[in-house]
Subunit: 363 residues, 2 copies
Amino acid sequence: MSALYAIVLAGGSGTRFWPASRRARPKQLLPIAPGMQEPLITATVERLAKRVAPERTLIATGAHLVAATRAALPKLPESSFLGEPAARNTAACIAWVTAIALRRDPDALLMVLPSDHHIADAQGFDAALDRALRSAQDGAITTIGITPSRPDTGYGYIERGAEVSPGVHRVTRFVEKPDRTRAEAYVASGRYVWNAGMFFFRGRTMLDAVERHLPELAAGIREIERAAAAGSDAERRVTEAVFPTLPAVSIDVGVMEREDVLHVVPASFGWSDLGSWETAWELASRDADGNAAPEDALLVGSRDNLVCDLRTGDKKPRIVGVGLKGYCVIATDDAFLVIPRDRAQDVKLAVEALARSGRTDEL
Amino acid sequence: MSALYAIVLAGGSGTRFWPASRRARPKQLLPIAPGMQEPLITATVERLAKRVAPERTLIATGAHLVAATRAALPKLPESSFLGEPAARNTAACIAWVTAIALRRDPDALLMVLPSDHHIADAQGFDAALDRALRSAQDGAITTIGITPSRPDTGYGYIERGAEVSPGVHRVTRFVEKPDRTRAEAYVASGRYVWNAGMFFFRGRTMLDAVERHLPELAAGIREIERAAAAGSDAERRVTEAVFPTLPAVSIDVGVMEREDVLHVVPASFGWSDLGSWETAWELASRDADGNAAPEDALLVGSRDNLVCDLRTGDKKPRIVGVGLKGYCVIATDDAFLVIPRDRAQDVKLAVEALARSGRTDEL
């Protein structure tokens, strides 16, 4: 097998876990899943550690997040951290990092993994990874698709076709987030899986696909590679000049939806993209009343709540809920959020209100 | 008219405004009514200041609360503060303070007022006071009864009979907290008013009534008075010995329900006993969405909430509510309470839980 590289996508800056997640401290840098002791990205890299050497684990993140991200991954060398000069979506990021891996190892086999997802069943994940990597080694860009547990309209779906080897299917098509009716039909058909944003490929295969579908992006990457051959100063200068001009398109839309031969490994391993505080409650271990709360919180006559206490320091006011049903109560050092679980997506309304009133230090 | 004394009852130690109210800082020492700048007891005494001299304003409180109570009433002399050696309910307290007033002025006219109620219409209150004091001066123990605005089952009711002078009625009977059906009948009849715990009487009249209905209490008070004649050391010693043995009964049950001739002045002056956080919301000035909240709280898509921020210090985490409807959110330096308004009475469940787990410092 070729030398294996991991590209961990850590550019996220979502607002769905505000006030825990912030511009300068996005979700992947937090131990957001209940019971976690370490940030999501740390767990992501640990899951890969036994098959990917530290120097081949490449973390793509925003330039402004490199320092905080390094702090979460002390076992990786400085060369693992690649700060994008500008956010240009996933196609540019993946093509850029793939080219860097190929520079180090022309036969590199790569996997792209989001940094901020939760995986409950590490063994199941490993088994799916084995299949996906074998398929990628054999030449096809391969993805892992999650067997859907409900007709969720928040995910893209992948339709699978014939099985080409044990547990590996041809992809019939990629579809973006469907409406409810279509999502229900997809799930009922048994042929669709969720797109979890995990991709496996030989480096050369990916850059060839980028060349076919996104020639402008491929040209930009070539320009950076030429500069890199002239030395790291030139590389840095050209990257900073070229990167912001690259087409900003997702790898799904820019490459996957246009590529003819793709493989998918359907799998279930307790995957969650941790889309909101509601998801955090779903994943949490809960008491007999359905509450997930730290020991020092006091819930009386309350059911099905998530209390998440991310405060530091010694003197933390005790969180007390009486008669609370189905709420999220989130405490950080500078905010205290109360929101019904079934409105967890509306955290963004609070973030928008703070932005409108110029409270940028709280975003 | 005789010299007028006020007895302000400030022994309360309720839990209904937890976490704002505490054992060592009961409700009357807090500016609990929204918009208030001063504690309830300070407002109570200020309302009386133009008719009762400071040295005749007597504050009956628990011995452990004297220092905090004095701090809230800096205009009163030290002699105004009477610390009960033990809590023996209102009959003992009122008889004891009445005897002290009579010692200073044998013809004293007295009024007893709770320290922790809210009165919106100070002029209406003054007019009722005038009538009640005239009636008391003429010899009858007199009370002010609040015209009920709803069939509340949390108050005692007073049935009024014939009008004996303008705005003053005979009392037919005192009734304790009724059930819902009876409360509705009382309100429908138009003959009942709420017992607001305000009493007006000549000192001698009250002690005679205590003698008739609670002879054991009268005997205890006489023993204290005899000791007082021998000097303040003897008074202190005997008070501390006798007070804890006095019958613990309310003035309503011990005297009012048994006394034949009582007068009542029906009145409405925006009275509230501030029974819970729900009442605080009702009294608060609210915005167009029905929210009563400090400016630095952020409420989005939220209606009819009370946010009460009693925290000190500079760095206070921002309180943010999204999709909150009908909640109380109360922040102090050591607790953060979230409770539906319609369960506000259940704050006591949290207090009980803290007591059970030995968190006495938080009570």
